[in-house]
């Protein structure tokens, strides 16, 4: 058996042991997410518009990740709507910045890997790099949205009469608790992936100015920064969606009470 199969089986067994049915569901979501990511790559290779593919796949990934984890209906729905809004806002930010930064495609550091490959493939790499940046933040958006909405729905459970204005403050308070550790997840996640690149820079003695303008370096740092922006935005947006949902529920409850 290959290493991936065995590691995957170990993960599945552990997830079921620790989380039971929810664990099995999360594992399934992970596999489906991989399938969606690969599908996105194949579709782009077939000349579908990278941005549209990313938006559709992104929405599906968010839905899968959020609804297949355990959680009550209200918090899952709120988390999904909020993360979808964040995704759209993020696209509006990433598209112009990527076009401005000119970090599309590959850099001189990639030449060895590109040996024997034709790079003139007729697909705009600005769009591909934009798609990459958006996809790499999806997990972080879903996680942050779920954490905030779960925290808020717990507060609602304990204090069902809390005013929507107080709820707004609570959302930011929950966000403050998670932001430090979430940033570290992103920092280590990304830097773990770029370790080899950074070692390359010091090994080949790039100057500070060269690193700061290097295509690959800037593109990778931009990905971290986009992910951070998405997490920061998730906090107020999720809180706002939650207050709307609660206000809507109360209105309906009030009308039923009148009848």
């Amino acid at each position: 058996m290959s290493t991936i199969t065995v590691l995957g089986l170990v993960l599945l067994v552990l997830m079921v042991l620790v989380g039971g049915k929810a664990g099995a569901q999360s594992f399934l979501a992970l596999i489906l997410n991989f399938g969606l990511l690969y599908l996105a790559i194949v579709l782009v290779a077939f000349h579908f518009s990278p941005l549209i593919v990313t938006l559709v796949v992104g929405m599906l990934v968010l839905a899968l990740t959020i609804f297949m984890s355990s959680g009550d209906d209200l918090s899952s729905t709120v988390a999904f709507i909020a993360s979808a809004v964040v995704l759209v806002v993020l696209v509006l930010l990433i598209v112009p910045v990527e076009n401005w930064a000119l970090v599309q495609g590959f850099g001189p550091e990639d030449s060895e890997d590109l040996e024997g490959l034709s790079v003139l493939v007729g697909i705009k790499f600005v769009q591909v790099t934009t798609a990459t940046a958006i996809l790499s933040t999806l997990g972080a958006i879903a996680e942050a949205a779920m954490a905030i909405s779960a925290g808020l729905s717990e507060i609602l459970e304990q204090h069902p009469q809390v005013s929507t204005k107080a709820l707004l403050g609570d959302g930011i308070a929950v966000g403050k608790q998670i932001i430090g550790t979430t940033f570290n997840t992103l920092f280590f996640g990304f830097f773990g992936g770029f370790l080899a690149l950074f070692i390359w820079f010091t090994g080949v003695h790039y100057s500070f100015g060269e690193i700061l303008n290097d295509k690959i370096f800037v593109s990778e740092i931009l990905m971290i920064l986009f992910a951070m922006v998405s997490v920061i935005l998730t906090v107020p947006i999720t809180t706002w969606v939650m207050t709307r949902a609660v206000a809507g529920q109360r209105k309906r409850a009030g009308k039923q009470g009148d009848n």
């Binding site: 290493t3 790559i41 910045v97 990639d110 790499s136 972080a140 570290n184 800037v218």
Partner: protein, 372 residues
């Protein structure tokens, strides 16, 4: 730092950050004098006709020549006017299309001072980078206020440590990469948790869980590697490798999962501490159970965070492989297999941290433990 907790102090901090950041962004657009390599600002562009190109795999692309005229902004050629030939393709994977106003690094060929010619090297990107950093800091301070400042501080502190470790790794020719980044992981975790939680019992338990979970996942990974003889792992597919790939891969995985495991154990343990404060009558077993429940809802999304970070990055190269007539399987092996292995190892660490956090918290959070 206390001043940041008051409303007025915060407003001032925010204003200062905005203004300083704004000046920095503006400054990077005018900082050519700081660079040693000559930088040219494009003042006019003449674009030629596009010529169609078809490669061996029937990919249709086009190439366009442009003549850029501009002025050197720095160094000994400062003020000199130049023209540079540049070719860009439709897909632009390895080339650039420049516009009027673009700043780019050029290599100047001086032929005895008679006629200056130059070739385009690369685009200048520091302004975009500084702008985005500014945006993140401004949003953080605006929405998260003091906590945002602390979060930023911990990321900055870790960044400095990370840089030092890389320099250290370079000075040992990469022979000790796993030890360097292994010990760095301990320092990282201790520093971050101290900044986020403060120095107390809760922090010690969280630190123990983080280190334990990460260490267990690496041990499990090494066992599986040994059993399967690393079948299906293509170290040669790792990018930018300049030293022995296997220890480097393990160091990357270790660092990558550390943050997520830390995130998770902080969440579980702080919830359990809060629970115990509200209901001190809960027994250790009940605390353990709630810890497991909290953990099992957050582990899935966290594994997903890392999965997308590790694997989405391979998108452009994987797509290029497909466009160059490679099979789906080969494209996966050569681009994504290592990222998937990394995600799985981190996932194992994240899952193992759940019982570990619940166990440690349930047994050791009571200060007045009766030892009768």
């Amino acid at each position: 730092m206390q001043v940041l907790k008051t409303k007025r102090g915060l407003l001032w901090a925010w204003l200062i950050a905005m203004v300083v950041g704004g000046i920095l962004v503006w400054g990077t657009a005018h900082d050519a004098a700081l660079y040693r390599d000559p930088i040219m600002q494009v003042t006019s562009v003449e674009t030629g006709k596009a010529t169609k190109e078809t490669d061996d795999f029937h990919n249709i692309d086009s190439q366009t020549k442009q003549v850029l005229s501009g002025k050197i902004l720095n160094g000994k050629y400062r003020g000199q006017r130049l023209t540079v030939n540049n070719v860009y393709s439709y897909s632009r994977a390895m080339d650039q299309k420049y516009h009027v106003g673009s700043q780019l690094f050029v290599v100047v060929h001086d032929r005895n001072g008679q006629h200056l010619t130059a070739t385009a090297k690369d685009s200048k990107r520091d302004t975009t980078l500084v702008f985005m950093v500014w945006l993140v800091v401004a949003l953080l301070l605006l929405i998260m206020q003091f906590s945002g400042f602390m979060a930023f501080l911990s990321v900055a502190a870790n960044g400095v440590l990370f840089f030092l470790a890389i320099v250290l790794n370079g000075s040992t020719q990469g022979a000790q990469v796993l030890w360097i980044f292994g010990s760095l992981a301990v320092v990282f975790a201790a520093l971050t948790l101290w900044l986020v939680i403060g120095a107390n019992r809760q922090m010690v338990i969280t630190l123990a869980t983080t280190l334990g979970g990460t260490a267990f996942s690496i041990i499990v990974a090494l066992l599986v590697f040994h059993m399967t003889h690393e079948r299906g792992m293509y170290y040669e597919s790792m990018q930018y490798v300049t030293q022995l790939p296997r220890p480097l891969f393990l160091a990357e995985t270790l660092l990558g999962s550390l943050g997520a495991v830390m995130d998770e154990s902080t969440d579980i343990i702080s919830s359990l501490f809060a629970l115990k404060r509200e209901r001190p009558e809960l027994s250790a077993n009940q605390v353990f159970k709630s810890g497991r429940q909290i953990g099992s809802t957050i582990m899935g999304p966290l594994i997903n965070v890392l999965f997308f970070i590790f694997v989405a990055d391979t998108f452009p190269m994987a797509m290029l492989y497909l466009k160059n007539g490679n099979s789906w399987g080969y494209t996966f092996s050569m681009n994504m297999s290592m990222g998937v292995v990394q995600s799985l190892i981190s996932g194992i660490g994240i899952v193992l941290a759940v019982p570990l956090a619940s166990f440690l918290a349930s047994r050791f959070m009571d200060k007045k433990k009766v030892t009768a």
